[in-house]
Symmetry: D2
């Protein structure tokens, strides 16, 4: 019996779930594993699933971990696809929000299940052990650590290498990978700015947190524009700002949520210190009577690809898929928590991108010079990979990569 | 039978309701009117109630309207009073919020019911008609117009004068009133700033509405600081700012809610034009592809006290309460919709303030020079009038005022 | 022999001098005094001149001081008048600048000389002593104190009252005066913001004082927009900002010059504290390694008119010039150092405005609703009083006022 | 006879001249060329000098241009060196400013003269022609074009390759060079923001250009922080801001000088459009009645090193100076006008850096992690190269490079 990967993908796409709530997704995965005759552990780090397959070609061999993440995003899908999501969920603040697989994790799960089917079917051809990890809550940067806290590294053979892949708007068929820093380190901060509320007509009796927040947002721009070497990558995004219930009541506080990005741990410490300096000084400029409260919601390490392993895989893929199929996509400013598995185990990591974009659409946008405007990126409500050959290339990329390291 | 006004006040205070949702409050009022043997019309402008009493001293006399507003505010009470509110409500955005009588409308209702009892008991002493109007949704600036749209001016005798009063942190016992502009005109605006969303790590592929909003808030400060004659009153408050769900998703839009204040209709047109100019220019500075959407949520006229009627009332109160009890509180920057009744009918208005503050607390704060810091104002979560003589003075002020004009 | 006041005015207008450099102006004054047969002291507070006339009607009488200021401004005249200034001067920074009598001090001197001629000619009609003070450097807020430091109060009879007047764009013929605060208190501050310079292409190696200055200016707007009661007057103007020599060198510091205005001494202390708080916090937000340096360049008291004396003068002028010629011009946000003479002597002050605007021009602007746009105010390069009846009314206003108090 | 290069350098360092005023410097150069027996053309592009030497080994050979720039900067030297500059000059605005060789052009001239002496002395060993170009006004980005406009490319043999070098705070002895973009493209803009002036106490009658400028500076930060791919280099520096003469006069306009940097011509067009969009929108936000005036003061192309020629030179230097002496310094965000010579002639360019920093000082700063803080960079008032082996290595680098291409 063979998994219908297209149907599986469409089902997952129609039913995205928010981070740490991927119960239906986990059910889809465990049913597929059962159909493949594989045992698994579920409920790892809330909703994570892991399984393993041992090759029988020889008695012994390396352990290769393959990881896919499972969660969707609070985005209202606007792709117009027949199988577009209309799902909703309750976010951590208790708000009812739309949910969409706007980052392609549905494709990640699909490809890993396809690869497991292939590897299981060919286990007499290879040696060693493949461990497949279906991880929750990558979008919160918290799922990998939750699975580790739940003992995934103890309950399965320790990896010799960790592999993972991410769907991206490269032309379908293309693999993008680079040695060294592949994705940025990232922190998610919440900043509570504490003022003093009052009536909207009597600002002088208040300490206005809306103005405090606005001044802080404007000043935070100067970290990147003035304080970081223009040749280095840093991002300071204020992704959300919330204060007040009504136009004529000045609220007592404002909340900012920040997403910070940097290439390495040194830059991380540097930018964090600058952000904190500005937040505190802007509160002082407002005459705030209480210090702002800064909390770290998540902290993601940089995703650094092992040089030697990356070179081996690049060569293997070029052999398998043809010359020119592997490109250097540059460093990505996005972040990942896949590194925690490799960091914790002290082993190398290779994390790559594979394309899901209609090559013709890409060529047209390049010709028009409108790639930034016309190609929906990850997290866009218009993010819509083509199904083929995206599914097949995702499966093959995992199988080729795993087999490169397995005996 | 006599109404227990203290108990009535405490009951209302414990059960505040949001604007246009004052159903329980209306029930309390109609039960009291029934107990007084008065007929009434309910459901006016959603939850408003009105009644009338005709004096029997002579066959004929003027019509005096007395108005009290009924609604609470989305504020979490922090007074620590035994009868503090723990109520919650659903605001127009569907959010569950705390509710508190932070503006004293519970005292307004209490005093008007007490005045009606007194006027009813003495109706053989006076001539003419008193119309009592219990109005919803003053906080939205919408209740007076809703009652007028529902025909309150047709279903009751037209006023010769409209009277109203507001609780305020003057020392209890004091009446504050001034001829001419007593309260500011006000508009409530909602501004939607339209950007383009995307991943928090790829700001260059977005048009960041959080930065657009922050720059707009900072620039709006210059209306008051640079563009209005320093000797004139104007307020531009951004009472709420909301954008985004998550630190690492740049949202597609931001919403600001503004409260604007001015002394007259000319200043209103002037400030509105300046605010619109800045909002549009800041969107342009961000490279927004869509114009901001500016909507007016409410628009309140200035509250202008008739000169002659105000002089008559001031004299009447001084006679009744003693010399020095009537003070000029200056113009208030807050706003009211009571004027619509008088504007629509084309008759004079007198609107005054009466004190609910413990006189000792006031004296102490004056001595320390900390009136702004220590005296909770209307809309503060700490707003807590003393019960006596506040209730009695509120009743008396209405009765004295009504009798001054009645035959 | 009679002074040709029109010719004198035109001569002064053609030859304006910067503050503390009014040597030619002092020469014109002393020549006129000599022609009038009056003795004088010159060089008071650098370039000031004072003289006195004693009435002979009786042996004794009060001492009335009349004060006129003498200095021009660094403004390039654009009136297009035949007698427009083309003068230049060297400002305290050593820069060569255009100079113009853009504040009407040429008219002040002219009127005072005209009044002296009249009073001298009629000295047998009155008793007491008139002291005329021609003061330098009013625009620096420093001339009155300089003359006091030079002993003017000791070298002339002490005043019983101090009188002064200022030309303003009221319609010619009109006197504007109010009891109480007539002009604001004011401070002039210089703020040096200390950063770290470097090459324009390497902002991360610098602490950019231009951004520090810009953020400070934006934040200073919030003092007036959020922190001062909207019904009270306050002004925070950054009148000059200077940093840098070249586009590609980030300078080491920026300099701001602030002009602050308030109605009284309490507001002064309050606003100064708020400004300092913001300046220091914005330097901290920039990560400045040195504290900003804030210096006070001048500090002017509020100009407060004595209630009783103002009422006497208003009545005297209405008698002399006709009903309706004296108006309440409201409080002016500008400031004056004339108060120092009265404060130091502990005597009352009356300081008034007289109009120099073509009444037709004023009527037209009122009709168009473009008074703010079309009427050049003091300090404008287009400030151009009409000569008649401005000169005559200025002379008469002084003579009537002096005679009201003299025996 | 041999040039004393150390004495020559110290003399030049003591007598820096502003751009297009390098008359004394040109005199030093022409005296040295005369001493070497070389003919020259002077006055090229105002103060430029050029000369040529033809090798005699064979009859024919390539033409190699060597270029050194000559001008100093308006910086007040603070090195404390015995030979520190105390020179002053008059800048284009007519202001008297300090002048310093803060960018090392004195060393450039010294090294090129030393190289010419060596090449002249050995002309029988090589073939072809060396053209040496001493260029004025590199700091204005205008000198190369001025020399070209004056015909330098017609009056000397056309280059087959253009070579140039720049002193930098790499450790002395080190050469830094990279193929491809070595230095950024750059534009210098002047922005005049037009408001309406008036008295500092009457902001409502003005359009405040100081606030307009501050808001513009703050908004310009968002170009780099939000609108450019975080992985790409862009700089938007406001190097100078000037408005106003006095604290209590609101000026009529403000002037900003911007330095912009980008890696290529596409980014240039993109950033320029964004800057213009913001400048215009911020003027609109202020209600400016006149459009801002944006002028381009200079425009420098990217400095792009020919790949093949750079590889040849790197190999030649490593052979000459030892392995490890040639490093990739990364792209510099600074800009140069040397490219115009190669662009105009349509030939390759190699432009490299050579170190002038005390290696021990560098090692110490690296150990402390304070390179950014402790190492004075070009344009710093503390920029102070050590004399040896800086001079020798600068001479050798030119000679080795020229000989590599000469026959």
């Amino acid at each position: 019996m063979s998994i219908d990967l297209e149907a599986l993908y469409i089902d997952l796409h129609r039913h995205p779930e928010l981070s740490f709530q991927e119960t239906r997704t986990a059910g889809v995965i465990t049913r597929a594993l059962t159909a493949l005759g594989l045992e698994y552990v579920e409920g790892l780090g809330t909703t994570g699933v892991a399984t393993s397959i041992t090759g029988t070609a020889t008695d012994d061999g390396p352990v290769v971990w393959l990881r896919a993440d499972m969660d969707g995003l609070p985005v209202a899908e606007q792709t117009g696809l027949a199988y577009a999501s209309t799902a909703r969920g309750i976010d951590p603040a208790g708000t009812d929000v739309p949910v969409m697989h706007a980052c392609g994790h549905d494709m990640h799960v699909t490809a890993l299940l396809g690869a497991l089917e292939r590897l299981a079917a060919t286990r007499d051809e290879w040696s060693g052990t493949v461990v497949a990890v279906f991880q929750p809550a990558e979008e919160y940067g918290a799922g990998a650590q939750a699975m580790i806290a739940d003992g995934v590294l103890d309950r399965f053979p320790k990896p010799d290498i960790v592999l993972g892949q991410h769907l991206t708007p490269l032309p379908a068929g293309t693999i993008g990978v680079r040695p060294g820093t592949q994705m940025a380190a990232s922190d998610g901060l919440t900043v509570r700015l504490l003022g003093r509320g009052g009536h909207g007509s009597r600002p002088h009796a208040t300490i206005d947190p809306v103005v405090m927040a606005a001044a802080t947002v404007m000043r935070l721009q100067t970290v990147v524009s003035r304080e970081i070497d223009p040749r280095e990558m840093a991002v300071v995004t204020v992704g959300s700002i919330h204060a007040g219930l009504k136009n004529n009541i000045i609220p007592a506080e404002a909340k900012l949520e920040l997403s910070l990005r940097y290439p390495d741990d040194e830059a991380r410490a540097d930018v964090l210190a600058r952000v904190e300096r500005i937040v505190r000084a802007e509160a002082a400029a407002s005459g705030a009577e209480e210090e702002p409260v800064i909390t770290t919601d998540h902290s993601l390490p940089p995703t650094i690809n092992d040089h030697e392993a990356t070179a081996r895989l690049s060569a293997a893929w070029e052999r398998a898929f043809g010359e020119g199929t592997v490109v250097d996509p540059g460093m990505f400013t996005g972040s990942e928590d896949v590194s925690w598995f490799a960091r914790e185990a002290g082993v190398p990591l290779v994390y790559w991108f594979w394309g899901g974009l209609d090559p013709q659409q890409f060529a047209d946008a390049v010709a028009r010079g409108t790639v930034n405007e016309d190609i929906p990126t990850n997290h866009s409500p218009f993010f819509a990979p083509i199904l083929h050959p995206t599914i097949e290339r995702g499966v093959d990329a995992l199988v080729v990569a795993a087999r490169e390291f397995l005996g």
